[in-house]
């Protein structure tokens, strides 16, 4: 339990840092929120005072802080305030509508990347071929470091605009009632973004998996079993798989930040209506509440993902106390 406890401290630390950044950054930044809100036409200071009061910005700082924390942690769903651009929609409602799409992208890519990495690692480990191994290695390193938004743009061009095999934006055909057609449309729209994300993250998984499979293959137990004549296939599914997955699960907790960043970029390129796209929207519209809320939620996703990964690791690894 010491391991989990340390991880939880880390996550709480991140949460604290992010919460305080979310509160203080906009308030020390040049220009106040009210200035942004008030258009040049409404020049009267009266309007400004009204707006400040409306958003609670005229209260003393510690009161604002208390209210901020209360809205964040004491209410459910957390209240991030009203969006400037989509006034009077709340930021929370905007995020809630889009969260599912981001999770769809991220979870699908995560899953596919692990599956892909597993099969690649199996191929290059059990049948020792130098060419395959080298090719896979270079492929893994390159795909991780090539900017994901460029991969997205290239694939979008080739498969979306040029060949017209896939749609070029959105999450599903609009105004479709829920049913088989809708599900089909969702999948159809998700294929390209998921492929791009998977391509970008499988490399790291492959490298880790390959290393750990090789380590396991040389462990005494496996060598002994193979000498006894136990067939590789049986071995693979029981011992090798289980043990080689451990480092991968450890890595997954730490790769959440990268996953979220890639998700933001991929959604931006594909116009996919997820939380990442909302973040970019907030940038374009100078919508501070949206930016703060999205920042917080994305951090939450990273923390939750990491925590799940850590719990999984503790469950699977008998060595961790």
């Amino acid at each position: 339990m010491g391991f989990i406890r340390r991880r939880i401290y880390t996550y709480i630390g991140i949460l604290l840092v992010v919460t305080n950044l979310d509160f203080f950054l906009p308030r020390i930044a040049p220009g106040s929120a009210a200035d942004i809100l008030v258009t040049t036409a409404l020049n009267s200071s009266e309007q400004r005072q009204l707006l400040l009061a409306r958003f609670g910005l005229n209260k003393p700082l510690y009161v604002q802080y208390y209210l901020f924390l209360k809205n964040l942690f004491a209410t459910w769903p957390p209240n991030f305030g009203l969006s400037f651009q989509y006034y009077p929609r709340t930021v929370t409602s905007l995020i809630a509508a889009r969260l599912g799409w981001s999770m769809l992208l991220m979870l699908s890519s995560l899953f596919l990347s692990v599956v892909l990495a597993y099969f690649m690692a199996r191929r290059s480990s059990l049948r020792v071929g130098k060419a395959t191994d080298t090719a896979f290695m270079y492929g893994s390193i390159s795909s991780q470091t090539v900017p994901v938004f460029w991969i997205a743009m290239v694939l979008l061009w080739v498969f979306g605009f040029d060949l017209r095999w896939f749609p070029t934006f959105g999450t599903a055909t609009p105004n479709l009632p829920f049913g088989l057609a809708y599900v089909g449309s969702v999948i159809y729209h998700a294929i390209l973004p998921v492929v791009v994300m998977t391509l970008s993250i499988f490399g790291q998984n492959y490298i880790v998996l390959r290393g750990s499979i090789q380590e396991v293959l040389q462990s005494d137990y496996v060598v002994a079993a193979r000498t006894r004549g136990l067939r590789d296939r049986i071995l693979a599914s029981t011992y090798i798989l289980r043990n080689s997955l451990l480092p991968l699960v450890a890595i997954l907790s730490f790769s959440m930040a990268g996953l979220v960043s890639r998700d933001v970029l991929v959604e931006a390129v594909f116009g996919y209506n997820g939380v990442g796209d909302l973040l970019v929207d907030g940038v374009v519209n100078h919508d501070y509440p949206v930016l703060e809320g999205t920042f917080f939620v994305l951090t939450l996703i990273i923390i939750l993902g990491g925590l799940i990964g850590d719990l999984l690791l503790v469950r699977l690894d008998p060595r961790i106390k």
């Binding site: 880390t10 470091t145 743009m153 040029d162 290393g211 730490f254 930040a257």
Partner: protein
Amino acid sequence: MGERGLERTDGNPEVQQPEETLNIFGKIRATLWHNTPSKIGLVTIVAIFAFIFAGRILVPYPPDAITGAPYHPPDLAHPFGTDYLGRDLLSQVVWGAVPTFAVSVASAIISVGIGFPAGLFSGYFTKMEPLLGGTTDIFLAFPILPLIVLMGELFVATNLLLIVILGILLWPPLARAVRAQVQSLKTRPYVEAAKISGVGDMRIVSSIMVPQTMFLAVAYTVINISLSTIIVTAVEFLGVGNPNAISLGSILYWAQDYAFTAGAWWWILAPGVIIALFAVGLGLMGFSLERVLNPRLRSQ
């Protein structure tokens, strides 16, 4: 962002630095040059630098001048084609590469400039392990891109701001590695002998600890340049800061808006290839360095 996850070791210094040779350049040469992935990476980087350098001298057009027809595909006059205004893309790439690289390199240097002394001093003087370890863990899982987006929106997003933020976000891993190394060195007999015979602390740090950990500093500089470049291009692509200033990422920012509907595939391809090659080159070098730093990851 692959390297940062792989970086999580026990911090066991025996694992990290098996040979304690002071031949820094020898080690660097061995890791970066005699190592195939790294050699390819290094050659790629050098080639791109040469390309950019030559380009700045040879390319006739300034990057922001309208010198051709808009949306013109590549030809002899404009080898990379033109953008939506008619500006030459090759010039944009060649000139725009400099701000991007400058920011990556500067932030990497700052991160090492903070992290190296931090690791040295926290390793030698105090026992602040939980503090440094905890900070590193927090930074590892931190959502860097959203933070930069947020800060870029709130404050005037200059390159300086980007450099500072990245420098602050990237120093902990090096500090932790250096700290672990220093703590291991502290227990060596010759260090204890030096202390007993009255050699001052600063002297010990500067003449024993620093040379031994210099390799870590160099390695992490390269790794951090690699990470920075990825983040910087992504941030530029998102339009944070001034998208009108020409940089590698901003070329793609405009391309994303206009190139698709205009059918200007060259706008997406050429600048992207340059960015991709640079990123991959750095990534290959970083990969080889990671292998040396964490021998546990080496395959048999």
